[in-house]
Symmetry: C2
Subunit: 388 residues, 2 copies
């Protein structure tokens, strides 16, 4: 398959910010950017069907190599026709490399130049993953976009450790590219380097030499102040190829999405909207609403009176609170659906503003009204292990 | 509202069995009989939306007065527009009386002629329910069909206790009728009497004197052999009004549905198909299938290759097993959907056979092929407390 398969069209660039509206082509259809990718950790976006994901506007979803490698196993997925067929999602899929999970979820044993020895968080069994093995696993899964195996460091991280991990990530990117098993998969390298400008810049320069169809910024949203996250993006973006999609990993709070898009990022993913939904918290045009709270016990209003999602068209806060308090699955289905609708609609609105040439005004208004409702000082999302 | 509101048309009677096909009219639309009512214990048929219930062919659902009385409270449901609006189900609803739950789930305190003092299974709080209070609660909930508060006895039960409970149930039926708060609700009395023929017959005779729009047989499917259950039905049915619907409470295994319909019962409910689905067991045209078993780990077939439900059209046994093993909600959504499709389709097929005048042959074939796959000696379903 030619590189045309993964062509990226830029349809409109903002004159006052780094934002752009584009379209990224994959073997399973295109993705309108900027885009948010709902996270389907275990080959399912928790509680929802693929039809429901499409209904709320998802064009691409993310699934986790680490989780699928452990259960049900990549070979099993391959035998069953690959991830698309396995989970009945016919649109584009991105699989992460498992790097983040190996370094955060599993009991880590040894990191060497060759790869990582770790114990499964499920049963303690011993596993070894290398850049080549991760490429083979992702080849079995068959996602459209595959991420390189990277070495993630926590925040804060001393410079020496950050440098070592960043340099290793570059070497692993080259090995990943050499090992890419299929031509119908786009490999995205991941820029690391923690919060050190020279490390980030050097990392980006070396990775772009690999000439991949897209690039990601990793190692952010791991507990650092949001101002630092935005600064890192500002250092890296100018070095990334203008004509290729840029993916900000693990970012998804509404305010961070605006700031990421404004700085030229095209793709985002985050467990936040789906995870908080399962705790009974939803995002609305008036900010966060903890629908499980007692104050909503007799509230006949929908979660967000301005929202047109399925949940808001048919159910009251009182009913949703009842379901969640009673441990009923339908409750977290409905809050999950609402939150994904909310965040996907936000991306659609940003894109529409970009295409209409009025993104700066839209961003200004969002920074004044919507973003402060969601802003927290830290970007500190953690990966999810499993279950609900 | 006139009694026409709850008119029951008999469209076809079987010449060789007691079975009949009918249509029962309610303020929220009609119900084609024989029918199976999915159980929505806490104002939700676990894991599913109302649209999905309609998709699998549900025309009427059952909800539990005991559970809704305790949480969120009947007055809350009334303030929010009643159960139909609260849970976004616009079709007919039947609420049970809570009798079964009070005697099986709660910590019982005292039964008196006036009513029952009991402790909530949720928080141990003390509550009192009488026939009149139960009618008021069901008035607040606003179901189309409401059940009388009855005194249930376990199986086995000595004759003296069964007689006392049955006689009290008759007195409570009369009090329920006198207390019925709304004209748009149909009250169904419940025939009790355990396994004692004279008690059952006397009970039925006394209850039909109340001239209610429908009658139920209760106290079955509580652990007695299925042969005894069928015998009790045979004693009672000839005494019930021919032109009113007959509801067999708590019965829903495929073989029991056939035997109930063959003996002239029109309505059924049971937690079985939805509960076993949440444990990873499904009903298929080849019998029970425990999809969580390891043997299905790489099985690309649908649950039932002969089934046309959403689950069977799109998902493999291997994927469903993966979801259930991984604790993913989508797994139990999909098995629940399948099981309800299976049992509702069974009822539709029985009705079609009745209307076409070929029910005896259909029954014979089912007794030879399908029923033995599902038959167990005992009918021993228990009520569900809450959660999944």
């Amino acid at each position: 398959m030619s590189s045309e398969t993964f062509g990226f069209e830029i349809l409109k660039e903002c004159n006052h910010t780094g934002a752009r509206a584009g379209r990224f082509h994959t073997p399973h259809g295109w993705v309108d950017t900027p885009c948010f990718m709902p996270v389907g950790t275990q080959a399912t976006v928790k509680t929802l069907t693929p039809e429901e994901l499409a209904m709320v506007g998802a064009q691409i979803i993310l699934s986790n190599t680490y989780h699928l490698y452990l259960r049900p196993g990549a070979e099993t997925v391959r035998k069953l026709g690959g991830l698309h067929r396995f989970m009945h999602w016919s649109g584009p899929i991105l699989t992460d490399s498992g790097g983040f999970q190996v370094f955060s979820l599993s009991k880590l044993c040894t990191v060497s130049e060759e790869g990582v020895l770790f114990r499964s968080h499920l049963d303690g069994s011993l596993h070894f993953l290398s850049p080549e093995l991760v490429m083979a696993v992702q080849g079995d899964l068959g996602a459209d976009i595959v991420m390189q195996f990277d070495q993630c460091v926590p925040y804060p991280c001393v410079r020496e450790a950050a440098a070592e991990a960043a340099e290793r990530t570059v070497r692993w990117a080259a090995r990943s590219k050499a090992a890419l098993p299929r031509e119908d998969q786009a490999l995205f390298p991941i820029v690391q380097g923690s919060v050190y400008r020279d490390l980030r810049e050097e990392n980006a320069r070396q990775l772009i030499a690999l000439d991949c169809p897209g690039y990601a910024i990793g190692g952010l949203s791991v507990g650092e102040p949001k101002s630092i996250m935005n600064e890192v993006i500002e250092w890296v973006v100018p070095l990334l190829p203008q004509l290729k999609p840029r993916y900000l990993m693990g970012v998804g709070s509404p305010d961070s999405l605006f700031e990421g898009v404004a700085r030229g990022m095209d793709m985002f993913d985050c467990v936040l909207p789906t995870r908080i939904a399962r705790n009974g918290t939803v995002w609305t045009s008036a900010g966060k609403l903890v629908v499980r709270n007692a104050e909503y016990a007799e509230d006949p209003l929908p979660l967000d009176p301005l929202c047109r999602c399925y949940t808001c068209r048919h159910y009251s806060r009182a009913y949703l609170r009842h379901l969640i308090k009673a441990g009923e699955v339908l409750g977290i289905r409905l809050t999950t659906l609402h939150n994904l609708h909310f965040v996907l609609r936000l991306m659609q609105n940003m894109r529409a503003a970009l295409l209409a040439g009025r993104f700066p005004e839209y961003l200004d208004r969002a920074r004044e009204t919507l973003c402060p409702l969601f802003n927290r000082e830290q970007a500190d999302e953690q990966p999810e292990a499993s279950g609900i």
